[in-house]
Symmetry: C2
C-alpha cells in the first residue's frame, strides 16, 4: 500500500487507529477454547467488529511464534481475514546482516503479504536496507519506544544528539516518507513533538496509548502533520475490553470510541 | 544446558565450533529438491556429517520464516535432529517490551527447546529481562557485530564509552556469565580483545570467520579465556562447501579442518 492510499483511508474513515492483535491463548474468552483454532476465531471476531473504526492492524509476531508452526499458520490466516484496503503491520522488530534481512523481507513481504514490518536499528543502516527494496512496502524503524528501558540506550547522548535522533537522521537521510516510518512511544509526547520537527513528513507508529497510559490528545497535539502522519496503536485495551461472550461487541465499542475521538481531532486540526 | 556442560563439551571434542544452519532453498544442492522436505533433508545430512566436529548449532530463524508455517515446522524438526549434548542457538535477534519478550521466550525456550537465543538490545534492559528468567537457558546479546553498519550506532561514543561497551556494561552488571553471552564479530579482533578485558568470564558468540573474512587465529588470540569462552560460528563456508551429491562430505571436511585448527589452539592456550 502506498502513502496516498493510506492517507485517503484515514480521511475517509476519519480514524488513524491501528488495532494490535497481541492475541494470547491465555487471555482470550474461555468459551473460544472449544473452537478448532481459538486464536483464529478470536482474531476473526475482533477484525469483523473493529474494521470500520481502524485503518491498520498490527500483528505482534511473538504471540504467534509462541504456538510454533501452528501459530505461524494462524498469523497467515489472520492476515487473510483482514480487508484488502486496511494497512497491515508485522510487529516483528527484525534486523540482521544483509543476507539474513533479505530472508526476513522475503518472509514478511513475499511469503506473507504484509504492508509493513517493524525493524530494530542497532546493527546499522546496511542491516535494514533489504526491507526498503520493495515497492509500496514499508519499514518502520524503532526510534523512541514507550518502555522505561528506552532510557538505557535510546536516550543516551551521542555527541549533540540522542541516539534515537541519530537513528532517525541516519534512516531518513536515505529512505523517504513513502516507505519509512518510525516507532515513537505515546508516553513521551514532548519528545514526540521534537521528533515531528526533525522529520515533518514521515508517519509515526505510536504505541503506548491505552494499557501503557499515553494520552491520545497529547500525542495528536505534538505529532500530527498535514497528512495526519500518525498511526496510533491500541492492543490490550481494545482486544481484551471484554472477557465474556460479548468480547467482540466490547472491542467494537472501545474502537468506536477511540475513532470518534480521532474524528474530532482530525476536524480540530483541519485534516479532511 | 549449563556453563559447565558447555565447557566440558568443548574440552572433550577439542572444538569451539558453532555451525550455522543458514539453509536457503535457493542454494542447497539441486538433487535434494526431489525430497519431500529439501531443507530438512539438507539439514539432517549436514548435522550427521558435522556433529563430531562442533559443539553448537545456530539456527538462523530468518531462513525458516521465509518458508512460512512449513519453515517453522522445519526448524522444529531440525532442532529434534540435533544430538542432546550439543548447544543449540536460535539466531533470532529478538527484543521487545516485556509482555512481548515473554512470548518470544516462550516460543524459543518452551515451544521450541533451544538452549539460547540471540537478542537485540536497542530497547534496553527491561526489554530482554524475560529471557533471563529460565534456568539453564541463555540470552546472547548483540554487542559489536561484523557488518560495516556497526559503525552507524554500535561504535558511537556515549560519554567515555562506545555504545557497544555500554550495552555490555548494562547487561553484564545484571546477568552473569551462567546465562549471558555477547555477540562480537570476528572482523574486529583488537576490539574483541578490549571486550575480553571488560568481561573476562562471559562467552562470546563470534560470527564472521569464513565467508565474512575474520581470522580464527586472531579471534582466539584476543578472545580466549580460561574456559575457552568462545563459540566461533561458520555458516556458509561449511554448509555450502560442496554443491553436488557429496555436499555433506565436503561440509564434514571443512568442519573437521576448522576443528583441527581449534584443537591446536586449545592446546596452545592450555585449555584441556
Amino acid at each position: 500500500m502506498n502513502r496516498n492510499q493510506l492517507v485517503n483511508q484515514i480521511k475517509q474513515k476519519k480514524s488513524f487507529l491501528c488495532v494490535g492483535l497481541d492475541s494470547d491463548i491465555k487471555k482470550i474468552p474461555s468459551h473460544l477454547l472449544n473452537e478448532p483454532n481459538p486464536l483464529l476465531s478470536f482474531n476473526k471476531a475482533i477484525i469483523a467488529a473493529t474494521k470500520d473504526f481502524c485503518v491498520s492492524y498490527k500483528i505482534n509476531t511473538a504471540f504467534y511464534e509462541a504456538s510454533g508452526a501452528k501459530g505461524w499458520e494462524t498469523m497467515e490466516q489472520t492476515l487473510e481475514a483482514i480487508p484488502q484496503e486496511i494497512f497491515t503491520i508485522a510487529d516483528a522488530k527484525r534486523g540482521d546482516i544483509g543476507n539474513t534481512s533479505d530472508m526476513y523481507a522475503r518472509a514478511f513481504f513475499e511469503q506473507l503479504n504484509f504492508d509493513a514490518v517493524t525493524l530494530a536499528p542497532y546493527m546499522g543502516q546496511d542491516s535494514l536496507a533489504p526491507f526498503f527494496s520493495y515497492t509500496d512496502k514499508w519499514g518502520i524503524v524503532l526510534a523512541l519506544t514507550s518502555n522505561p528501558g528506552s532510557a538505557d540506550f535510546e536516550q543516551l547522548h551521542v555527541g549533540e544528539q540522542r541516539l534515537y535522533e541519530r537513528v532517525i537522521d541516519t534512516f531518513s537521510s536515505t529512505f523517504n516518507h513513502e516507505q519509512l516510518m518510525f516507532v515513537v512511544g505515546a508516553t513521551k509526547p514532548a519528545e514526540l513533538g521534537l521528533i515531528r520537527k526533525q522529520v515533518p513528513n514521515h508517519f509515526f507508529l505510536v504505541p503506548g496509548v491505552g494499557a501503557q497510559g499515553g494520552s491520545l490528545q497529547e500525542v495528536t497535539k505534538h505529532g500530527i502533520n498535514a497528512d495526519c502522519g500518525l498511526l496510533i496503536n491500541a492492543s490490550r485495551s481494545i482486544i481484551y475490553a471484554g472477557s465474556g461472550e460479548d468480547f467482540a461487541e466490547k472491542a467494537a465499542q472501545e474502537a468506536k470510541s477511540m475513532a470518534a475521538e480521532m474524528a474530532e481531532l482530525l476536524t480540530q486540526y483541519h485534516i479532511n
